[in-house]
Every structure is written in structure tokens, then in C-alpha cells.
């Protein structure tokens, strides 16, 4: 259909391709850097073609501190997701079935909490953790991540849950199921896609989180984002190692992110858009 001039379409297409290039170019540059020798890295003019080396990757994965950071990041992300799900799923279920101002106010409160900058929580948690000896522990960071992941999951699941016809759970209620039975036997199987998606987003949040990890973990329980920064601080200009480690940290986030991109949009807009 000759809906509109091809000029417009062409213009948008060009803009899209240019923007795609803008996005890819620096990532590509970083990827190249991870394969360069230190000498190639600083060559002028910059070398786009060179003999790639995996030295940086060997160095990174030979570094016991970095390996420990991978384990820490993994433990904290998974731990935080599991704990968040345990708290958030029943809450999302309850809120979905509730009516009236109580539900409205609860949803609002949860959203507001998500919007407060992390720094506000960071200072008291630091003081508190120092007192409770929770600094530099896995559980300490897991608990703090709950602040963000529980609201995230509730707000993502609520609209997904609401899109499932209530008839099913009402039918089972008439058949004599208790709310807990309805949750476990009827509703959970229906929203498992949403639960998976929200868990993945929560995982990505914990995996990428920097500020709390920086302050609340210092020596033993260092996570990946902090470990990379430590390369920057302690090893001066070890750019190869930094870029190799960066490549490693973005891969899980990317892969998972693409898997749930459809849900993420729902989670981002949190229904605010649809109203």
C-alpha cells in the first residue's frame, strides 16, 4: 500500500540503522579490546584488524578473586530471587484477589518504595550491618536486594495475573478449594511464564547491581561488578582484563534479557501505559 511517501520510511529506516550502529559500535569496541594485546590496545590509529589473543580471558579466569566473584554474584542473585519469589508470589496473589482501597494503597506503597533512590537506604543499612556484623556477607546483600526485587516481582505479576480470567479460580472456589489450594493448584501453573520472566528480571537486577555491593561487601563477598572496578583500581590500566571481564558479565544479562524482553516491557510500564 502506498500509505505514505517512501521518503519517510527511508528516513526512519536510516535513523534506525544509524542508531543500531551507535549502540553496537562501543560494545564491539570493548569486545575487540578484550582480544587485543596491551600494545595493540593503545595503537594509533586504532587497529580494527589485529591478531586476536585470549590472554586477557586466561588472565581473568586464572584470577582466583574473579572466580570467587562469579560464585558470589551467582549465590547472591539466585538467593535474592528465591527469597523474593517466596515473599512476592503470595502477595501478588492476594492483591490480585483483593478489592477496594486496601489493594489500591498497597500497590501504590510498593511502587513508591521502588522509586526511592537506593542511597537513602544505603546509609542506614551500612550503620545497621556494621552493628549486626552483616557487612561482607551473602545474606546481607541478599536481604538488601529484596527491597527492589519484591516490588519488581509484585508489580510485574499483578497485571499478568489480572489478565487470567478469574472464572477459573472462582470455579474452584465453588468446588470447595481454599485460597491456598487455589493458589497452588490453579493459579500458579497459569502464571508460571510470568513468574519465570519476573525471576529473570530480578536476577538481572541483582547480577548488575553495583552501589549496595560496593558498600556492603568489601573483601570476601565481592560481586562481579565490584570485582571489575577493583581491576580498575588495583591493577592500573589492565584494560584487557577489564574488557574481558565486562564481556563475561554482560553475557548472562543479555541472554536472559532477550528471553524475557516481552515481559520486561510489561514490567517496565507496569500497566501505567495501558490505562
Amino acid at each position: 500500500m502506498k500509505t505514505r511517501s517512501t521518503k519517510v520510511t527511508l528516513g526512519l529506516y536510516t535513523f534506525g540503522i544509524v542508531w543500531g550502529f551507535v549502540i553496537v559500535a562501543p560494545v564491539f569496541w570493548l569486545a575487540l579490546l578484550s582480544l587485543k594485546t596491551p600494545l595493540d590496545a593503545f595503537a594509533v590509529p586504532p587497529k580494527l584488524f589485529f591478531e586476536p589473543t585470549l590472554d586477557a580471558y586466561f588472565a581473568v579466569f586464572g584470577d582466583s578473586k574473579f572466580l570467587a566473584a562469579i560464585a558470589n554474584s551467582f549465590i547472591i542473585s539466585v538467593g535474592s530471587v528465591v527469597l523474593s519469589l517466596l515473599i512476592a508470589i503470595p502477595a501478588a496473589y492476594g492483591l490480585r484477589n483483593m478489592r477496594g482501597p486496601l489493594r489500591y494503597n498497597s500497590m501504590l506503597a510498593i511502587l513508591l518504595i521502588r522509586m526511592v533512590p537506593g542511597m537513602v537506604y544505603l546509609l542506614p543499612f551500612f550503620v545497621l550491618y556494621k552493628y549486626l556484623n552483616l557487612l561482607d556477607t551473602h545474606i546481607g546483600l541478599i536481604i538488601v536486594h529484596l527491597i527492589f526485587n519484591v516490588p519488581l516481582i509484585i508489580w510485574m505479576l499483578a497485571p499478568i495475573w489480572a489478565s487470567i480470567p478469574k472464572d477459573l479460580s472462582e470455579a474452584s472456589r465453588i468446588d470447595g478449594a481454599t485460597p491456598l489450594q487455589i493458589l497452588l493448584l490453579v493459579d500458579l501453573p497459569l502464571v508460571k511464564g510470568g513468574i519465570l520472566a519476573s525471576s529473570i528480571l530480578a536476577f538481572i537486577f541483582s547480577w548488575n547491581e553495583f552501589l549496595f555491593a560496593l558498600i556492603l561487601t568489601r573483601r570476601t563477598v565481592v560481586t562481579l561488578p565490584v570485582a571489575i572496578v577493583n581491576f580498575l583500581a588495583y591493577e592500573g590500566t589492565e584494560w584487557g582484563k577489564i574488557s574481558a571481564a565486562s564481556m563475561f558479565i554482560i553475557v548472562p544479562a543479555m541472554v536472559f534479557g532477550f528471553l524475557v524482553r516481552r515481559y520486561m516491557i510489561a514490567g517496565l510500564s507496569s500497566g501505567a501505559i495501558k490505562g
Binding site: S5, L12, G16, I23, V44, I87, N97, I215, I228, I242
Partner: protein, 309 residues
């Protein structure tokens, strides 16, 4: 009669809510309890801390000093600078994010060959760890290491010392922020656009609207609410550039890229003046809420209405 029966009706409604909600409350209470303990307690603690002289650096006993921290705050030039710099780093990238995001959303909305792949590329920054984003742009802007200045020189432009000069350091961070969060804006706009009825576009076409008239009279007015949501989200989340500042400039050179958020970090965890840092972040938070107050209330009403459904 209506007036007399009104309160009764409301009571009945409330009662019916209470009855239908009673079975489900116990599913919500644990989450509410956890959230309250994890957030409200710390916020109250921050308020309390901001009125103390707590500092891990000196050995003097911590004392309650009332509003003294706040009074000092407004004499602290560094804090006042940080407010100004926060404004630049929050509002500087915003128009670009909105503009580029809008056109990106239009592009995503097209059915063109390869668009599936392009859409995938567009959202890459959304999952990017901010810390890696910062490192990546630090690399790009570091002389020799990043190619930016070399390629600029090819077209005859002498690139500045990006991260070494206050003005360009701010611009560098803005560029990173535009790269990082334009996709969010685009995706929000794109999602909204997909809900716009096709009929409106067909009707306006029959009525003689050109493409640009459709943008002006149909698309843009319909996007107004989404744009409000996006702006509020972007301002609140602009503080997420902390890791980017941390690795790109550490607030420098000469404190020129230090936001209030960042100053709170420096004061609290480098100078270890926790009490003072608390007053910084609370003041900044209050300012944010005052600026965003009206927009946020509107947004929350809408979001709340959605939650109500």
C-alpha cells in the same frame, strides 16, 4: 433519603470489601511486613542519623545535633554545586532521550526487512550492567584507547580531553546516559503506540492527513500521558548513573561531575561522615519529590487505577 442512605451504603461497601479480602490478607501481610521492615525502618533511621554527628572517622561520641547538619548543608558550596550538577545530569540527557526515543519508537513500529533484528539491537542497553556501561564509555573517551578522538580527527575535528575537562566530562556522562536509557524511552513509546487503534490512522488518512499531520494530531497527543510517565521514571531513575560517574570520573575533575547522590556517597563512605551524608541525601530526595510531586501524583493515580482493575 439519598443523604440518609449514603453512609449506610458506604459502610456496606466497606464491609463487603473487608469480607471478600479477609481470606487473602494473610497472603499479603508477610510481604508488607518484610517491605516495611526493609524500607520504612531504614528511612526513619536515615532521618534520625541526619540529626546526629555520627562519623566513623573521629572518636568523639555521637551526639544529637538537631538541624545542624542541614544548616551546614546550605553553607556547603560543594553541596550547592552538586545540586546544580545533578540538575545538568538529570535534565541534560532527557530531551535527547525523549526525541531519539520517539523516533526510535516510530522506527520500531515500521514493518521493514530486518526490523526484528534492529529491535533486538535497540534494547541491548536495557540489560547492560550500568557499571559496564561506564567502563565501556570510559574506554571510548580515553585518549588512544578509545577511537573517538582519532575518528574525529579524520573529519578534521580536534577532540577534547573528554574526561579531563569539567565541561566535556559532563558531556561524556550525558552521552553515556543517552546511549543507556534512550532504549527505555523508545520501548515505552513503542509499547504505547502499539495500543493506538489502527482506525484512527485510517480515518485521519481518509480525512486527508499527511504523515506529519498524523504525527502531530494523532500520535503525539496520544503519547502525552506515556511521555509523562517516561519523564517521571527517567528523573527518578536518573540517579542510576551513579556507577557510570563512579568509573568514568569519580565525580571529577575537580568535583565537576559530582551529583548530590554522589556527594552523599563521598561524604558517607569516604569521609565516613554518615550523619552529614544522611542530611545530604534526604534534602536531595525532598527536592526531587517537590519537583516531581504534581506529576507523580497524577502518574500514581493512573497506576493506581490500573492496580484497581
Amino acid at each position: 433519603m439519598a443523604a440518609a442512605s449514603m453512609p449506610d451504603t458506604m459502610a456496606l461497601v466497606r464491609l463487603s470489601y473487608r469480607r471478600s479480602n479477609s481470606g487473602y490478607k494473610r497472603f499479603v501481610i508477610p510481604a508488607m511486613f518484610v517491605i516495611a521492615v526493609l524500607t520504612i525502618v531504614p528511612i526513619l533511621m536515615t532521618v534520625a542519623l541526619s540529626m546526629t554527628s555520627l562519623s566513623y572517622l573521629n572518636t568523639r561520641p555521637t551526639a544529637f545535633i538537631g538541624m545542624e547538619n542541614y544548616v551546614e548543608l546550605f553553607r556547603d558550596q560543594r553541596f550547592l554545586n552538586s545540586l546544580w550538577q545533578s540538575a545538568i545530569l538529570i535534565f541534560g540527557p532527557l530531551p535527547f532521550q525523549l526525541l531519539f526515543g520517539f523516533f526510535l519508537a516510530l522506527t520500531m513500529n515500521e514493518r521493514l526487512p530486518g526490523m526484528g533484528w534492529l529491535r533486538l539491537i535497540f534494547i541491548i542497553p536495557m540489560f547492560f550492567p550500568p557499571i559496564v556501561m561506564g567502563l565501556m564509555w570510559k574506554v571510548m573517551f580515553t585518549p588512544q584507547l578509545g577511537g573517538i578522538n582519532y575518528y574525529l580527527s579524520l573529519i578534521g575535528i580536534q577532540g577534547p580531553l573528554w574526561l579531563g575537562e569539567p565541561f566535556y566530562a559532563l558531556i561524556s556522562i550525558c552521552i553515556a546516559a543517552i546511549w543507556g536509557w534512550t532504549p527505555f524511552v523508545a520501548v515505552m513509546f513503542y509499547t504505547a503506540m502499539q495500543t493506538f487503534p489502527k482506525d484512527l490512522y485510517e480515518a485521519s488518512r481518509i480525512d486527508g492527513a499527511t504523515w506529519s499531520q498524523q504525527l502531530r494530531f494523532v500520535t503525539l497527543p496520544l503519547l502525552r500521558e506515556t511521555a509523562l510517565v517516561v519523564i517521571v521514571f527517567r528523573i527518578m531513575e536518573a540517579l542510576a548513573i551513579f556507577p557510570i560517574i563512579f568509573v568514568m570520573t569519580s565525580g571529577g575533575p575537580a568535583g565537576s561531575t559530582e551529583t548530590a547522590n554522589y556527594y552523599a556517597y563521598t561524604a558517607g563512605f569516604q569521609f565516613l561522615k554518615v550523619g552529614y551524608a544522611s542530611s545530604i541525601i534526604l534534602t536531595f530526595l525532598a527536592m526531587l519529590f517537590i519537583i516531581l510531586g504534581p506529576a507523580t501524583r497524577m502518574l500514581l493515580r493512573k497506576v493506581g487505577a490500573e492496580g484497581e482493575r
